[in-house]
């Protein structure tokens, strides 16, 4: 029973992690960028929703209407001013740049919100659906549905639209993409925008399920990285499966054994999987072989 | 006698059969040409011979020794040098450093000694001089022109004094003068006893330089023989027919 409960929770929370990881993996795939700031950006998104909900008494889900475009714009700005200028050694330079951005964001949030712990509120946040002996925290159910919706949108965008085509093209072979006249810069800019826009949404959910402050980001980033790698770079579907897989295992280990070993298992799985499939569960082999 | 031979090699990628029971022998001291329409498996064969791919079945022998499952570095150490279709040099290292890389050393102690020992240096400069790049020896290799990079690649393989050199489309994208120069170099090296296996689409070049030409078709050997014989063999034209005619004449 308990295990079943854990599995279900794992699936629900997994959906939420997948949402946070989706942006990361897209940016990974298209631009070779390890967006180390994702944690800080999620916290930023959480704070934005928090301010809006507390000051204007708007439902957190509605607040997304404002925060998401805002963060998307932020993403594009970051691309234009910080990522685009990087010429040599993109992989690491961009990683460090994003780390610097994270530091900056944390510093600013720390001053604006004075690092007490806060949490986003709504009437229904503590409710939960009860089916038989099992119960599903409502907020996780909502976030799961939202994730599912957004991820399928993302899927449609990448596989059914012109932008999606150029996106996948620049993912598989940037040079060739440029040759056939795709403006990879524009693609990258939009991608980073989307990636960080998604962080706004992930942040809102994070803020409703966790009490957070400016330095909460450290707990998020490592898990997201693991999920993205496990799912395979650039594979949104992969991220979803990986996230659910990881969370379920972690939760099950946590309930039957101990939470501390739960998170150990989380990382161990990654090692094992990568030894068998270095490209991750859904990564295409040699997509970017030198 | 046979220096490098493949025997009944089969290599599949998923459904596609790149090499189907391919058997070939390359004579010592000869300049062997390896031709065939696109997708006939020439490069795959190179990869198998140089340890980049392990065949599903069949074996590769070098001087009678089985090297089927050797890794690329072992193959090279054994005396088989190879260039790539797209030139691959070390762009951020200087030309002179590039030429030193292939110089083999045994043992950790030797590895830790300075990268340019006098004898290695002499050999390096010699081969640079041989391809005429001495002038540029201090330049980062990345700054060389495409043709020069091909020469460089040629040079740094030479340094290891391989018994046999596998050249994958050496003529591709090289201007005539440079090509002539390259051909001359190959001939000259061949005189010193180096065997060559050349994959090339430029028939002029192949027919001009090779003593022996093998034709591949759909992953296996079609025929082999003297250039003039191969040139006029109907089967070869047959193989090329439907494919790009310009390659033939």
């Amino acid at each position: 029973m308990l295990v079943l409960q854990a599995i279900i929770e794992g699936v629900l929370v997994g959906g939420f992690y997948a949402l946070m990881a989706a942006g990361l993996t897209l940016v990974f795939g298209v631009m070779d960028i390890v967006n180390f700031a994702i944690g800080a950006l999620i916290v930023l998104g959480a704070y934005l929703s928090y301010s809006i909900t507390t000051h204007f008494h708007i439902d957190p889900f509605v607040s997304l209407i404002f925060t998401t475009p805002l963060m998307t714009a932020l993403g594009m700005v970051i691309y234009v001013f910080l990522i685009k200028p990087i010429k040599t050694n993109k992989v690491v330079m961009s990683l460090l740049t994003m780390f610097a951005v994270a530091t900056l964001i944390e510093g600013i949030l720390d001053i604006c919100y004075n690092s007490g712990f806060v949490q986003i509120h709504a009437s229904y946040i503590n409710n939960s659906l009860r089916i038989g002996k099992l119960n599903f925290p409502l907020i996780y159910v909502l976030s799961f549905l939202l994730s599912a919706f957004l991820l399928s949108c993302l899927y449609l965008v990448t596989y059914r639209t012109k932008f999606g085509r150029s996106l996948r093209a620049s993912m598989q072979n940037p040079v060739a993409a440029r040759l056939v006249g795709i403006d990879t810069d524009r693609v990258s800019m939009i991608t980073l925008g989307i990636g960080i826009g998604l962080a706004a949404i992930g942040g809102m959910i994070f803020g409703t399920t966790n009490a957070f402050n400016a330095s909460s980001s450290y707990d998020i980033i490592s898990r997201l990285l693991v999920i993205v790698i496990l799912g395979g770079f650039g594979s949104v579907g992969g991220a979803l499966v990986a996230a659910i897989f990881m969370l379920v295992i972690q939760d099950v280990v946590a309930v039957v054994w101990s939470p501390v070993w739960g998170s150990t298992a989380f990382y161990m799985i990654l090692m094992v999987v990568l030894l068998v499939r270095p490209q991750g569960l859904f990564g295409k082999k040699g997509v970017r072989a030198q | 006698m046979t220096l490098l031979g493949v025997e009944g090699i089969v290599k599949n990628y998923g459904g596609i059969q790149a090499l189907r029971n391919c058997t070939m022998n390359f004579q010592e001291g000869a300049i062997n040409g390896l031709i065939g329409p696109n997708g006939s498996g020439k490069t795959t064969l190179f990869n198998v011979m140089t340890g980049y791919e392990t065949p599903d079945s069949g074996k590769v022998t070098f001087r009678g020794k089985d090297i089927t499952n050797s890794t690329p570095d072992e193959v090279f150490a054994a005396g088989i040098g190879r260039t790539f279709q797209l030139t691959r040099i070390f762009p951020r290292l200087t030309v002179i450093e590039n030429v030193h890389i292939a110089a083999q050393r045994k043992g950790l102690v030797a590895q830790m000694r300075q990268w340019s020992q006098p004898d290695e240096r002499a050999r390096a400069l010699e081969s640079l001089d041989f391809v005429g790049l001495t002038k540029l020896s201090r330049e980062p290799a990345g700054s060389l022109s495409y043709g020069q990079q091909k020469l460089l690649e040629f040079a740094f393989i030479m340094v290891a004094e391989p018994k046999v050199m596998l050249l994958d489309e050496p003529a591709g994208g090289v201007n005539p003068t440079l090509l002539k120069h390259l051909g001359g170099r190959i001939k000259e090296l061949n005189k010193t006893g180096v065997t060559f296996i050349i994959v090339e689409h430029d028939m002029e070049f192949v027919m001009g330089i090779c003593d022996q030409v093998s034709v591949m078709h759909q992953g296996s050997a079609l025929i082999e023989g003297k250039p003039e014989i191969v040139r006029n063999d109907p089967a070869v034209l047959e193989a090329y027919l439907g494919t790009d005619m310009t390659e033939v004449n």
């Binding site: 029973m1 308990l2 409960q5 854990a6 929770e9 794992g10 929370v13 944390e106 510093g107 720390d110 004075n114 690092s115 007490g116 712990f117 806060v118 949490q119 509120h121 946040i125 503590n126 409710n127 939960s128 009860r130 119960n135 925290p137 409502l138 907020i139 996780y140 994070f206 399920t209 966790n210 009490a211 957070f212 402050n213 400016a214 330095s215 909460s216 450290y218 707990d219 998020i220 898990r223 969370l247 972690q250 939760d251 099950v252 946590a254 309930v255 101990s258 939470p259 501390v260 739960g262 998170s263 | -």
Partner: protein, 418 residues
Amino acid sequence: MHISRFGSVASRHKVQLGAALSAVALSVTGLAVPNANAAPKPITIGISVSLSGDFSGDGKATQQGYKIWATWQNAHGGILGRPVVLKFLSDASSPTQVVTNYQKFITLDKVDFVLGPYSTKLTKPASDIANRYHYVMLEGIGGGPSVFSRGLKNVFDVSASATYQLVTYAKWLAATQKPQPIAYATMDDPFIQPMVDFAKKYLDAKGFTEAVYKVYPAETTDFSPIASAVAASGAKIAILGTMPPDGYSMIQNFIQAKYNPEQLILASGPDQGADFTKSVGITNTEGIMVPNTWIPTSNYPGNKDMVALYIKTYGGDINSINADVPEAFAAGQVLAQAVNKVGSTSNVKLQAYLHSGAKFTSVQGPVQFAPDGENSGAAPYVFQWQKGQYVPVLPLGGPDKVSPIETLRPAWGTTPGM
């Protein structure tokens, strides 16, 4: 600044430091007595606080506590009749920086005294440095057992020792309730876990059984599995070793899991005043307990002033005061009393005096130091949220009068009168 050459970094140090210090000094003169410059040479006290990083939340509360104390102390004649000036540095929650900071206080600023940073993890390296320069390390926050197990003679914790904080509750439980299964969950932390484990040891001995016992890592963000494990145990009593943020998430998960223990006590979190009520929602607070070393309403010397000063300076109400504030305040109080008694700024004399078994008073109650430097004088309180108020309920028969304890929590969201 120019960091073109290392030499220049070093050489510029002194210059810039001077500037920095005067800056710090300026920022704190507000706290010092009005006529600071006319007054005799001030007593300087160096404190490293975590203004960024993992501990930033508590770090700031700690700083507030110390600042308020300085103001209060100066209003009461300072120390040895000299005004108190605090020097703060941030350690960004890193031991590396704590080491540098305390060296700077002692060797560059030549402060007269130092007081403790936030958290056990940082107090350890800090007390090593203080010890090296024969400085006394008085602290109120960071009394994990491992701080005192190292035979350092210069560390003193003015708060009740970590291990005993939950025992007050455990004793009451054993005395009043019949043995039954109890659900335990605690964070893996040098300060928190000993609290829970010690209480558990006591209760096990009294025949209470373990319904479930989970230790979770500090970086946990998803508490649902832990919460459901506790919920599934169906225990009527839950003892949680939580830090503020995860305590809130844990309660939220209990509500979602419809788990409604009759008694729920958290190691910390409910003592965070407004932070707590905002996060879990005031209507869910009913009956939740927390051990604490301080009563907001107590009549211990200085307490009323402290509360007033806090509200005047930082706003909020009496329940919005973070427990770190009085803990820091108390450390300052004890320092002042001891130094005034010793009559000099000699840390050596101070250390000897603190070891002499002398009694001190503080906003948290009496302080008396055991040989290892822990406070043997204090009896930890237990607080309970009743009708939106944060009231002391234990220990019975203590110096302060306490309200009757609610032994049966109501269902979530049903706080009477809310």
